[in-house]
């Protein structure tokens, strides 16, 4: 069987371009004197992580993705173990804990979970071919997803947990589950959601309320939404120019080198800049969908779909948040936001996607 011998160029180019834009914008967001005191040389650190990320991506792209699927259950239980450990360790600290600190490195288990859940979900669907379509099999799948999700929600990291729901929806769709079951479960989740309200921390409740009515909380998250909209809106078509965004430069925007990096782009590079970013993301995602369609087996299709949606939903939720379309949930923008852990795991997913493409039969156009 002829294999496409090369790594997918479109993926490589889009990711590289996005990473470069990310570094430039992180530089812009942290370059002012007051701020750089705290975030000294953030862009250099990000550059370091990008290099590491690309190396890891190349290595992963050479590893047959079936290997990951095979060890996925072990990884799944390891991830559960980490989450429980985090819960126990975090209990002593007020407001919970999302990170492990190992010397100079910090590591966020929910990032790891994103990868592991897609892998083990793929394995589960492939293993239970024919059963997954039935209600019983579906319930078992939900249970498998629900355990880590609840652990992530109580961390508390509502954002990451919420992202899984649409991702799982589409993975199951490609996995062959009947549409009416999926719609039913989606609806029942909607009905059950008031129950989850009680699980939320106060600040998360406030964020959701302030999303519906930003003026209700001008001190807290409503403030961030308004400021982000001002930054992007004032950017206009051409933007205020690199390093010239008044909103971002004056620290109007909270977290502007991490979760709100898109607002900085919107302000400084304008509609043209953000359109380029959106276009790069669109190219990347569509290439991913193509890879999913052309994957050599069912497992590859499902895995690729999961990865693609993991990215697509994160992109949509993060940008939607900066545009005031969605509540603030603290999801980074893939490849652009500052943060080593998130970038590294994104690159692992890209590596797997590259391998699925690499091994796909010649039908890839």
């Amino acid at each position: 069987m002829p294999e496409s011998k090369k790594l997918n160029r479109i993926l490589l180019v889009t990711v590289l371009l996005l990473s470069i834009i990310g570094i430039l914008m992180i530089y812009s967001a942290t370059n002012n004197i007051e701020y750089s005191y705290f975030y000294h040389n953030s862009y250099l650190r990000q550059l370091f992580w990008i290099l590491i990320g690309f190396i890891v991506m190349f290595i992963i792209s050479k590893v047959n993705y079936v290997v990951w699927i095979e060890i996925s259950y072990k990884l799944y239980f390891f991830a559960l173990f980490l989450l429980v450990l985090l819960f126990i360790v975090g209990k002593s600290k007020f407001g919970g804990l999302r990170w492990f600190h190992l010397g100079p490195f910090s590591f966020q288990p929910s990032e790891f979970c994103k990868v592991v859940l897609i892998l083990s979900l793929t394995r589960f669907i492939v293993d239970n071919k024919g059963k997954i379509e039935l209600i019983y099999g579906l319930l078992k799948t939900f249970l498998m997803i629900a355990i880590p999700l609840v652990l992530i929600v109580i961390q508390p990291d509502l954002g990451t947990a919420l992202i899984f729901i649409p991702v799982c929806f589409f993975v199951l769709l490609v996995g062959g589950v009947r549409v009416k079951y999926l719609i039913c479960s989606f609806l029942s989740l909607l009905i059950l959601s008031p129950l989850f309200w009680h699980l939320l921390k106060d600040y998360q409740k406030r964020r959701l309320i302030s999303f519906i009515n930003p003026e209700s909380d001008p001190l807290g998250s409503g403030y961030s939404i308004i400021q982000s909209k001002i930054a992007i809106g004032s950017g206009g078509i051409f933007g205020k120019g690199f390093l010239k965004g008044t909103q971002s430069q004056l620290n109007f925007l909270p977290e502007h080198h991490t979760d709100f990096i898109f607002s900085v782009i919107g302000e400084e590079l304008g509609l043209i800049g953000v359109s380029i970013v959106l276009f790069l993301y669109y190219l990347f995602i569509m290439e991913g969908v193509k890879i999913a369609i052309c994957a050599k087996d069912k497992a590859g299709k499902i895995l690729a779909t999961g990865i693609v949606f993991m990215f697509a939903i994160q992109i949509f939720v993060n940008i939607g948040m900066t545009l005031g379309l969605l509540p603030i949930v603290g999801i980074p923008l893939p490849f652009l936001s500052y943060g080593g852990s998130a970038f590294l795991f994104s690159m692992i997913l890209v590596g797997i996607l590259l391998n699925i493409h690499y091994l796909s039969v010649g039908k890839f156009k």
Partner: protein, 585 residues
């Protein structure tokens, strides 16, 4: 084959849906961007160019604290606060120099405060609160030289009765940096630092509001963009009776010590006075460093709530625990007599009774009534250390009473094993002898000791002592802390002894005798650092007790002479107030 085709077809359809779906998501984002950046561009440009939004926090008022009869103990009064909006600071150095002169605080302090919130340059940062109108008028006069300086009012905590009940109420202060990180606090927020203010802080503190105003290029307000009203914290009603509390504090005037008055039937605390005390209003005003140092370094430790954190040898009031142990374990009964000659020889050591001429021969009831030390030395030696500490723990010594205040001490119930561990020495009979009259290693807080008596009064049931009766409309109900199983005859014997101590001639607590049928026990505790500590724990009426009182005076002298009359005054005041309230109804 056909089936596979069908599946392929389904899959194709689904992937088509996925493509459309994702494209749709991107389209939404793009349309939104066009709306913001092209259609609404002008509006946002204006907002951004003038950097025109300022945030002025509106501090929430804390809940009111009432006594059990709805008498206000703590409320809030408005006070002037000066804040700075960093973005509007022009001539930063000059303005800060000027402001530091007017406010009489160092420039460094202002810089430090600005530094703490350096990422919120459009938000008013509190510099100093609780300013008098003179200072405010000076600032108003120099307004033009002070761009970016803002005056507004904030609620300030007002302790209506100054130092009355200060240890119960506690005090508030501005949040420290470490506390800010623990919860949803803003710089300049008030947080309870001790007492009810601390323990119930999450209820008492409200939710801050804020106003977002749009200003012109010179920092003048144009319009209000957003407003969120602050909401006041929850009100709290205490179990404390202010009038009785006031009486207790008067009785302790110029003394060092504790009075606790409570209901043994449910654990409600009517009064809990600890002296010396402090005036919590001091902390509402910006505290001068010297007065803080005074409070901290004062050897009398006025901030210490002696009722829950003062560790003392309980002395003779402890004898009832030993009596219960001896009776419950069938080691003693009414027929057993010990003889007291005033001195007791154990091997070559001699131990005295407080009454040097001796009590003669007496049974356990009389031993409690006349507080004979020698009776209890010998009882202790037969009951033995293991049982004594077992019963001490049974009566709640050595563990927290879980009263709703922070800073409670556990005290110490010594055991042979404890001594071995701590001093690497064996437990000696001399240690048991000292322990038998509540001295030596034993340490207890006044609240623990009144609990010991509450157990006896209440026939073995102990309620958790508590101070908060209502949080807003939610009632806090009494909670049983433990049930100690004691036989009726044990209880009767001990109670008879306690009745005799006050009501029989020659009883050590005779000065507490009153029409209200008081019973109780005195203690005069040897104090190596000065005069003896005086203590009395009593209750009334004997037949169906509704109030128990603990008096402890550091260096007060004789328990019978000094503490018993004070306890009597407290109980009489309680009945007097009860009668007045009844008459009014």
């Amino acid at each position: 084959m056909v089936l596979e085709r069908l599946q392929d077809k389904i899959e194709e359809k689904r992937f088509k849906f996925i493509t459309v779906f994702i494209s749709f998501l991107f389209l939404i984002l793009f349309i939104r961007l066009v709306i913001l950046q092209i259609i609404e561009n002008e509006k946002y440009k204006k907002l951004a160019e003038s950097n025109s939004i300022r945030v002025i926090p509106e501090r929430a008022a804390r809940g009111i604290i009432y006594d059990r009869y709805r008498e206000k103990l703590v409320d809030n009064i408005p006070s002037f606060t000066v804040s700075i909006i960093p973005a509007d600071l022009r001539n930063k150095e000059k303005v800060i120099e000027k402001l530091s002169q007017i406010l009489n605080i160092s420039e460094e302090e202002i810089y430090e405060k600005l530094d703490r919130q350096k990422y919120k340059v459009f938000e008013a940062i509190k510099i100093k609160g609780n300013l008098n109108s003179q200072v405010i008028s000076v600032i108003e006069e120099h307004k033009l030289e002070l761009p970016g300086v803002l005056i507004h009012t904030e609620p300030k905590r007002n302790y209506i009765n100054n130092d009355i009940a200060s240890h119960i109420l506690g005090y508030v202060g501005e949040v420290s940096l470490s506390e800010i990180n623990k919860g949803n606090y803003y710089l300049g927020d008030l947080i309870g630092k001790s007492g009810i203010e601390k323990r119930y802080d999450s209820y008492l503190r409200g939710v801050n509001g804020a106003t977002q105003i749009m200003v012109d290029s010179r920092g003048r307000e144009i319009k209000i963009v957003g407003k969120k009203a602050s909401s006041k914290g929850m009100d709290i009603m205490l179990t404390i009776d202010l009038k009785l509390q006031r009486k207790c504090e008067e009785l302790l005037k110029d003394k060092k010590g504790v009075i606790i008055a409570m209901d043994p039937r449910d654990g409600e605390i009517y009064a809990m006075a600890s002296k010396p005390s402090f005036n919590p209003n001091m902390f509402s005003n910006p505290l001068e460093k010297e007065s803080w140092d005074d409070l901290i370094s004062n050897p009398d430790r006025p901030l210490l709530n002696r009722a829950i954190a003062g560790l003392y040898s309980p002395g003779s009031t402890f004898k009832v625990v030993l009596a219960c142990a001896a009776l419950e374990e069938h080691i003693l009964d009414l027929k057993d007599l010990f003889v007291c000659h005033g001195t007791y020889w154990y091997s070559t050591w001699n131990y005295n009774c407080w009454k040097r001429e001796g009590h003669g021969s007496l049974n356990i009831i009389d031993a409690i009534t006349y507080s004979c030390d020698i009776f209890f030395y010998q009882t202790g030696l037969v009951v033995k250390i293991d049982k004594i500490s077992e019963y001490s723990k049974l009566f709640g010594l050595g563990e927290e009473t879980r009263i709703d205040l922070d800073g409670e001490k556990k005290g110490l119930v010594p055991t042979a094993e404890w001594k071995e561990r701590t001093f690497h020495e064996h437990w000696m009979p001399g240690n048991t002898i000292q322990l038998s009259i509540g001295q030596g290693y034993l340490l207890a807080t006044p609240i623990q000791m009144i609990n010991v008596y509450n157990i006896i009064i209440n026939n073995g049931t102990l309620y958790k002592p508590y101070l908060v009766k209502f949080i807003n409309d939610r009632e806090i109900f009494p909670e049983v802390l433990k049930r100690v199983s004691l036989r009726d005859d044990t209880l009767n014997i001990v109670k008879k002894g306690l009745w005799g101590a006050v009501n029989k001639s020659g009883g050590t607590g005779w000065r507490a005798k009153s029409n209200f049928n008081i019973a109780g026990k005195t203690a005069t505790i040897e104090n190596p650092h000065g005069p003896s500590h005086a203590s009395f724990i009593g209750f009334a009426p004997f037949s169906a007790p509704e109030i128990s009182v603990m008096v402890f005076l550091e260096g007060g002298g004789s328990g019978g002479e000094i503490a018993a009359p004070i306890a009597k005054s407290v109980i009489e005041e309680y009945y007097k107030l009860k009668k007045e309230r009844y008459a009014r109804k």
